[in-house]
């Protein structure tokens, strides 16, 4: 009976590994975190590999030792030495306090270093002038504003290749998180606050972005496409968007702001330069009528 169970267990595990392996081969390019197309994502992937290797210094011996111990000291094996009173060994214990601790020490240095170099707020060094994009998460779509280019878009961004992109992010509803796995890690967006993200993409293509923080009914539909293209194509796209019939002002923004989900890509020409600013500020100062009422009641 025992052997039968063992056989079933091993067959099932091998079958499972085969299935998962097949799926991974079929979807290789879909494993976005491990297929970076931007400098930040690339560094983050390198970090993942480094950390995995470092930890395996402890984990691999642990696993080998576990299998060895479990097999050798099984009840049936009476030839193994039985040491019922052996309950401490200072040297061994020092080893397994010290070795993990020293690996953690190395890792800590990595943590410290990368917390600075991969910080969201750290601009990317480049000779090319960066493009600024202001991001607003709404119920349940993303609004992207290009203040310099005077255009805006919903659920779509186009960015030039090898150019640093500076994102300023906020929210005009609940918390969300902006994530394009191919390009960089996620950052939260919050109403009344501005967070930042800096990326640089080095490969043409269309990448997928999404929200990673639950924000209500339409949350799953908060997907957007990121088109990375040459700066020539980017400029052409900007020009054509500026001429597009859709105009974004505070007034049309009020329409856009209303909850809607699974919104298709839409492009605007921007007519209100202070739009992003007023979206942030509306949470930070009391509305004028309220101040009036209060000063009135205080007489």
């Amino acid at each position: 009976m025992k052997k039968k169970i063992r056989f079933i267990v091993i067959t099932l595990l091998i079958l499972f590994i085969l299935i998962v392996g097949a799926i991974m081969l079929l979807h290789g390019k879909n494993i976005e975190v491990l297929n970076p197309k931007g400098v930040i994502a690339q560094k983050e992937m390198g970090l993942i590999i480094t950390v995995c290797l470092l930890i395996s210094i402890v984990v691999v011996p642990l696993f080998v030792l576990t299998i060895y111990t479990a097999y050798k000291y099984r009840e049936e094996n009476t030839s193994a030495k039985y040491l019922p009173e052996w309950d401490s060994d200072p040297i061994l214990e020092i080893i397994w306090w010290a070795i993990p601790a020293s690996i953690i020490l190395v890792l800590s240095i990595i943590v410290w270093h990368t917390s600075y170099t991969l910080n969201y707020y750290r601009p990317i060094n480049s000779k090319v002038t960066p493009v600024t994009i202001q991001v607003v998460s709404l119920d349940w779509k993303w609004l992207f504003i290009y203040p310099k280019e005077r255009i805006a878009s919903v659920n779509f961004i186009e960015i030039p290749k090898n150019t640093p992109i500076d994102f300023d992010l906020t929210s005009d509803s609940v918390m969300n998180a902006f994530w394009v796995p191919n390009l960089a890690g996620q950052i939260m967006t919050m109403p009344g606050m501005i967070t930042q993200l800096h990326i640089l993409a080095y490969d043409d293509g269309i990448y997928h972005g999404l929200s990673s923080n639950i924000s209500g009914a339409g949350f799953a539909g908060m997907r957007f496409a990121v088109q990375v293209s040459s700066s020539k194509n980017f400029n052409r796209w900007v020009k054509s968007t500026q001429k597009s019939g859709n105009i974004l002002t505070m007034q049309s923004y009020k329409q856009l702001e209303k909850p809607s989900s699974y919104n298709p890509k839409k492009l605007y020409s921007l007519k209100d330069d202070s739009l992003f600013n007023s979206i942030v500020m509306k949470y930070l100062i009391p509305s004028t009528e309220k101040i009036f009422m209060l000063s009135d009641s205080k007489g």
């Binding site: 991974m24 975190v33 642990l62 917390s115 509803s173 796995p181 923080n213 009391p286």
Partner: protein
């Protein structure tokens, strides 16, 4: 406002699945009532269980509630897996987004608060007083009250299925999504009050067990002679005491925001939503260790007993527990590295998080060397334990990865994270609870569980778990975030979601085997009676009394002179048999007051959810009166005279 507050006929479910769930729940309750009536057990139920103040029975009731709740939590899992396997491209699956979100929120709340916490307090109740050689906990009535508050929270949580709805903002319901503006329904209020009531129960338990451990240890049991399980419960209770008040405050402030219009966490009005996230995680992270530490204690006991060897590195183990206790309070920020805190802050919390891996690793090595040089009996418990070592270590690797802020940016809130914490909680907490229940089952019920079904269940659990969560690790790398009710076809996620669904199917079969184990062991209990009180050749005091123990646990309180006291006692050859001197034993009387307090707390919570203020005031007043009745009652105890103790003890001896 009407006399019933916000409550109206619209609160009852409309859609098919909720209705089905509600009807199933009501039918289950009716069957239960019918069964009890049919077998004429109301009196038995009332006098033996509902009014009891005996820690062993309270422990059994905790575990019973947890098992029932576990089934509900698992039903949520099935729905989620079906939804995520089918809702792709043009299909939107079987659930609406809103409904799906309620389900994963409910799943998280149920599994953490009403399954993991329930198992934990259940096992602690069963074992701890026995293990320290005490006749009961420090405050038996308070203990019963804790249980009924826990149950009241559970009832409130389940009431949301029938009347109203549950939160759809996740198990920690971050504002502003959980603020009135974005969640105008009663869902978040149900969430707040079920946690508030159950959390109060946990807090009172925390006080109770801390005092029990400090004050009620038997003669000779110095701190450094305490069994490891007791040590880990000690650490856990310190965490409970320091962490749960923060939860109480946080939930109360959110409720004030929603109900009276304060501005703690609102986007406007000067509120600070990031403060909520900080507060809830400064409870939430210690909570993780509250769940896992007692399991570590269980592993320590079981590995030592089934390897027939002393626990290796006792001192290291104790220090590791306290290192974890302290560190668990200074790592909470790692739950939101992506909020954009400064580099220094992120780096500090990242480093602290990784440091926790050291004491945890030390514990694993110590267990390994407890096995080393032993005679390991590979029963179901040890299979779970080996599964735990592998899964927990792999989950720990994932944890250390995410402790690096720059890596967390890529993996946070992805399914990689979901897979990580499920690995930690299922292998670390749930497997520990399973082991604990199998291990102490004969002590409480007097017969052993049949190991065969346990072994099959253990294998199936481990395989099922790998098949269910392996794909989720990969999906995280594929950019799949958590809580998605739908995704486009081009992502290529569907095949992995289907594999994960198969894994859940395997776990379902494992659950079937676990129930078979309970049922068949009960039917064949005559073959597995534990007549010695010591079925495993145990090491700690609880095995020195009979199975099941008398109400007062020990006819004569034990005295200990070393660690593994009972083992040492058994090894001694010069057993000096003395005449037993029995004494009168005071025992706390049964009382229904604790249950009444729980019922009133449930009504209180319900009224707070629906804004039925008059009834809320009335229930609060009733609670005050009930407490007054209890505190002014001078005759809460009765005394079992020494002669009767001697008689009971002799009966037990005779059985042996």
């Amino acid at each position: 406002m009407s006399i019933l507050g916000k409550l109206s006929i619209n609160a009852f479910p409309h859609d098919v699945i909720t209705l089905g769930g509600a009807i199933m729940m009501i039918v289950a309750i009716l069957i239960g009532i019918f069964y009890v009536t049919y077998t004429k057990r109301w009196h038995w139920l009332w006098s033996e269980w509902i009014t009891t103040t005996d820690h062993k029975k309270i422990g059994v009731m905790y575990i019973f509630v947890s098992i029932v709740m576990g089934l509900r939590g698992f039903a949520d899992v099935l729905l989620m897996r079906v939804q995520q396997a089918t809702s792709v491209g043009s299909s939107h699956g079987i659930l609406s987004a809103n409904h799906f979100q309620q389900i994963f929120s409910a799943h998280g709340v149920i599994m953490i608060f009403f399954v993991a916490m329930g198992f934990l307090f259940g096992i602690i109740n069963l074992v701890l007083p026995l293990q320290i050689g005490s006749r009961d906990v420090a405050f038996p009535f308070l203990n019963a009250t804790s249980f009924w508050l826990f149950s009241a929270g559970m009832v409130l949580m389940n009431a949301s299925l029938i009347i109203g709805n549950f939160t759809y903002a996740g198990w920690l319901s971050y504002p502003p999504l959980s603020e009135l503006k974005y969640s105008p329904g009663v869902g978040v209020d149900y969430w707040i009050w079920s946690l508030q009531v159950a959390g109060l129960g946990s807090l009172l338990s925390g006080i109770n067990f801390l005092v029990t451990i400090i004050k009620l240890r038997c003669k000779g049991m110095t701190l450094m002679r305490m069994p490891l399980f007791t040590w880990s419960v000690f650490g856990t209770m310190v965490l409970v005491i320091l962490a749960f008040p923060i939860l109480t405050v946080t939930l109360a402030l959110l409720y004030l925001d929603r109900t009276v219009g304060t501005h703690f966490f609102t986007a406007s009005g000067g509120g600070n939503m990031m403060m909520y996230v900080n507060l809830i995680w400064s409870w939430g992270h210690p909570e993780v260790y509250i769940l896992v530490l007692p399991s570590f204690g269980i592993f320590s006991e079981v590995v030592s007993v089934f390897s027939r060897k002393r626990l290796f590195g006792y001192r290291s183990m104790v220090w590791a527990i306290w290192a974890i206790v302290v560190l668990s309070f200074i790592v909470w920020l790692h739950h939101f590295f992506t909020m954009g805190a400064g580099s220094n802050v992120n780096a500090f919390f990242g480093m602290m998080t990784m440091i926790i891996a050291v004491p945890t690793g030390v514990k694993i090595f110590n267990w390994l060397f407890t096995m080393f040089g032993g005679r390991i009996k590979f029963n179901a418990s040890m299979i779970y334990f080996l599964g735990f070592i592998f899964l927990f270590t792999l989950g720990g690797v994932a944890g250390v990865m995410m402790a690096v802020p720059a890596i967390d940016y890529q993996l946070h809130n992805s399914l990689f994270l979901v897979a990580h914490f499920h690995t930690m909680i299922v292998s670390g907490v749930l497997f520990g609870d399973f082991i604990g229940i199998m291990y102490w089952f004969p002590k409480i019920f007097g017969f052993k569980l049949i190991d065969f079904y346990g072994r099959v269940a253990a294998y199936l659990w481990i395989i099922g778990f790998i098949v269910a969560f392996g794909p989720l690790y990969i999906l995280g790398f594929m950019g799949a975030t958590r809580r998605l009710d739908h995704y486009p076809a081009y992502t290529g996620w569907q095949s992995l979601f289907i594999v994960a669904g198969i894994g859940v199917g395997i776990i379902a079969i494992a659950l079937v085997f676990q129930f078979l184990q309970l049922i068949i062991s009960y039917i064949k209990k005559n073959e597995n009676f534990d007549t010695t009180g010591d079925p495993w050749d145990g090491r700690t005091l609880e095995w020195s009394t009979s199975s099941p123990p008398p109400h007062f646990n020990y006819a004569i309180l034990p005295e200990v002179e070393s660690r593994d006291a009972f083992w040492e006692e058994k090894q001694r050859t010069d057993k000096n048999v003395q005449d037993k001197k029995y004494e009168d034993i005071p025992v706390v009387k049964n009382t229904p007051l604790a249950m009444y307090i729980g019922a009133m707390a449930c009504i209180f919570g319900f009224c707070a959810v629906w804004h039925i203020w008059w009834l809320l005031a009335l229930s609060l007043l009733t609670i005050i009166v009930l407490i007054m009745i209890r505190t002014t009652d001078e005759e809460t105890e009765y005394v079992i005279p020494a002669s009767e103790v001697a008689e009971i003890d002799k009966k037990v001896q005779w059985k042996v």
